[in-house]
């Protein structure tokens, strides 16, 4: 038996929710984003239908918000104390203004990775398919160590270690993932990932060349980024798509095997178009807005400027128009992000997956996990994980 995955979501169906999400987030100064994230995830999950049966997302906005607030309490106190001491050590022991900030990033990195794992556990714990819950067993500590070692290895080898690190981290999570009482397994060898990384390595090599040329020869070499940047982005998208294919084909759940055959070309194309529209568009819009304001302000004569400094209503008018422009840009960005990037990519990835074998009857329910802080630390540490 082979179950293909159907994706039953359309841009037209998503549009109202995405627009409402943007508006509500702005109107509540961001407080509503936990609820909006919940609703969007419910929508996306319900669109993914392996064997015609939709995934169900049962997370709650309120529990996310609660987790976020708890995380803010803990992190605000932690950051104030740890940052102060680290900046002091940077000044006192390293005689450097950069030492402190670098140490602060290193100090927060384990927490960010830990939060990622917990966010993943929460997401899986609130996902059901065929009435059966998923779950991720404890193991965040080991994940933190592996990821830190992996980042170090990738940095030291200038990216050569990427296939190994990706395989290792994916296997770590996969083998701790359960669907009901069925544990996921991953077989195979990390070397299978090597061919998938070739374009990414070419891109990274080009980036290094550009950086070296800019440092050693002429800063004009930075124009080479116009080639090296897209090359790296394309290489990255290719690596992720091919990596998804290779690693998914290595996975099984109980007696069922996962199969994936993603349309790599379409994924790379979608990433290119999506990133150009969403981030390129954002950069252009923000630059134009900034220029517009700076230009207007530069055009004010000295007398008018001194007048402006005491004219309270004019100041409010400037502030209000600035905010209005920023909100408009945000709304466009938030909606486009979903329509041209998240939705099409999820469709391409989801429809690529199929499940072979029939061991469903042997899979029993697992208990509902409790999450005191949901994905709150992830939200506060801003993993930017839209999904």
């Amino acid at each position: 038996m082979v179950l293909e995955t159907k994706f039953a979501g359309s841009a037209r169906g998503l549009l109202p929710l995405a627009v409402w999400g943007g508006v509500a987030t702005v109107a509540t100064l961001g407080l509503y984003r936990c609820w909006i994230k919940t609703r969007l995830r419910r929508w996306y999950w319900s669109a993914i239908q392996p064997g015609g049966h939709p995934l169900e997302y049962t997370g709650l906005g309120g529990e996310k918000f609660q987790g976020f607030l708890i995380a803010v309490v803990a992190l605000a106190l932690y950051i104030a104390v740890v940052n102060s001491v680290l900046m002091y050590l940077g000044f006192a022991a390293l005689n450097s203004e950069h030492g402190g900030p670098v140490m602060a990033v290193i100090a927060i990195a384990p927490m960010v990775i830990y939060a990622r794992y917990r966010a993943r556990a929460y997401l899986l714990g609130r996902t059901r398919w065929r009435g059966i819950r998923f779950g991720l067993e404890a193991g965040a500590g080991g994940y933190v160590l592996r990821m830190l070692a992996g980042i170090l290895a990738v940095g030291l080898t200038l990216g050569a270690a990427l296939p190994y690190v990706f395989w290792d981290l994916d296997r770590y999570i996969t083998e701790r993932t359960w669907w009901g009482t069925a544990q996921m397994r991953m077989e195979g060898d990390w070397r299978e990932l090597i061919p998938a990384a070739r374009y990414l390595w070419i891109g990274l090599g080009a980036l290094l060349l550009v950086a070296a040329a800019a440092l050693l020869i002429d800063r004009a070499a930075l124009f080479g980024l116009l080639i090296a940047g897209p090359l790296t982005l394309g290489g990255w998208a290719y690596f992720r798509a091919e990596g998804f294919r290779i690693m998914t084909n290595a996975k099984s759940v109980g007696v069922m095997r996962l199969r994936a055959n993603p349309d790599t070309k379409a994924i790379v194309g979608t990433v290119f178009v999506g990133v150009t529209v969403v981030y390129g568009g954002l950069a252009v819009a923000v630059t134009l807005a900034q220029r517009g304001f700076d230009g207007r302000i530069a055009a004010i004569s000295y007398n008018d400027m001194t007048e402006l400094l005491v004219n309270v209503s004019a100041q409010w008018a400037i502030l209000a128009s600035f905010l209005a422009v920023m909100i408009a840009i945000y709304l466009f960005w938030a909606v486009l992000m979903h329509l041209v990037l998240v939705l099409p990519l999820l469709r391409l990835y989801a429809t690529a997956v199929s499940i072979e074998g029939d061991g469903f009857a042997a899979v029993a329910q697992r208990e509902e996990a409790r999450f005191a802080t949901a994905d709150g630390f992830g939200e506060a540490l801003d993993l930017g994980a839209g999904l």
Binding site: S46, L75, L86, F91, A92, G131, R133, V310, A334
Partner: protein
């Protein structure tokens, strides 16, 4: 009656069943039929696929996946709580946590950071501060050069340096400043002097030209020495570096967030700067008085400086990094003891050496 797939919530097996909407309940036909009261039939909501509805009894993992659009429409009509969200934490609890979160951020920014960084700054060795000061000085000189497009010129003569040292010694009688003071004069028209960590003080030539007497100049130097004495620059550098990452916690990373963060940063920095300016003024008042230098000289210099600036009102006043000149002038005048001036501050030759330091 419509065909649907039933999942019992206990195993992953699919059971083809017939479901029927009956009065008051949804009937799921199995060997042992299930009757789900309509009031309890529940779906998670926000379904992307209008032709598919997955429902079950509220709070239960059992599901029927229905693909009959007529039945879906009927269920939407008759189930009163079909997509009512499950209950999460209560509003009161969330409100309480929100207050706690706000309080934690406030405590961090307003209490922990200032107290901790002030103490930590005080425990830095003067040598470490001097190294920091050298970095700041280099950065400042580079910034001034960028403003002008040409590198800013540093003016130095042994006579001018001796005169500044003489002024500082007079002001600091009976005070241990801890640092080897180092004055740097730049050929720059601005009416400003800047105190950096470790007793590094940058003075713009504009000050020498605007000051009409050695006493007026002394008031500026005394103010900057106040910053040095209180380690303001060091504390500020620590504080601003340590505060990074705090506002990001609340605001998160979305377009426009950077701009909002920048405004918050400037507001808090401006408030802090205003408070340290007052502290430096108070130090200057006391030192000038003890050194027998009329504090009114400070007021008269501020009057000149105020001609070049207008007080900002409304929103702009919150971004102002200095207290208003009117307040500072009044404070200086109030602090003036009115006694007879002490010994001459600088000789005519020394005064000229300072005024012409950038002429060479």
């Amino acid at each position: 009656m419509s065909a649907a797939d039933f999942f019992d919530g206990e195993s992953g097996a699919a059971h083809p069943v017939e479901v029927t909407l009956e009065a008051g309940h949804l009937r799921v036909d199995r060997t042992d039929p299930l009757l789900w009261p309509l009031a309890e039939v529940h779906a998670v909501g926000d379904a992307a696929d209008p032709s598919c509805l997955s429902v079950g009894p509220k709070g239960d993992a059992a599901r029927v996946v229905i693909r009959d659009e007529e039945l879906i429409a009927a269920l939407r009509r008759v189930c009163p709580a079909l997509e009512t969200p499950e209950r999460g934490p209560g509003w009161l609890r969330l409100l309480g946590l929100a207050v706690a979160a706000g309080a934690a951020v406030w405590v961090s920014v307003a209490l922990i950071l200032p107290a901790l960084t002030t103490r930590l700054a005080a425990s830095l060795t003067p040598e470490a501060e001097a190294l920091l000061g050298d970095v700041s000085l280099r950065n400042r000189l580079a910034e001034l050069g960028e403003d002008d497009g040409t590198p800013v010129r540093v003016c130095a003569t042994p006579e001018a340096d001796a005169a500044l040292t003489k002024l500082a010694d007079r002001i600091l009688i009976g005070i241990d400043i801890r640092y080897d003071l180092q004055f740097t004069v730049v050929d720059y028209g601005g009416l400003n002097a800047i105190s950096m960590p470790g007793g590094r003080i940058l003075i713009m030539n504009g000050i020498f030209q605007a000051a009409e007497t050695a006493e007026e100049l002394a008031s500026v130097v005394a103010h900057e020495l106040g910053h040095s004495y209180h380690r303001h620059a060091t504390t500020r550098a620590l504080r601003e570096a340590a505060a990074q990452g705090l506002p990001e916690l609340l605001i998160g990373n979305f377009p426009g967030g950077d701009q909002v963060l920048e405004v918050i940063r400037r507001l808090t920095q401006a408030r802090y700067k205003r408070s340290i300016e007052i502290e430096a003024d108070v130090f200057a008042h006391e030192r000038l008085r003890d050194a027998g230098i009329p504090v009114s000289a400070m007021a008269s210099l501020f009057v000149k400086m105020s001609l070049f600036e207008r007080e900002q009102l409304g929103l702009a006043s919150h971004l102002q990094t200095h207290p208003s000149f009117a307040d500072r002038i009044a404070a200086a005048e109030a602090a003036d003891a009115g006694g007879a001036p002490g010994a001459e501050l600088l000789s005519a030759a020394e005064w000229t050496a300072l005024r012409t330091v950038c002429d060479a």
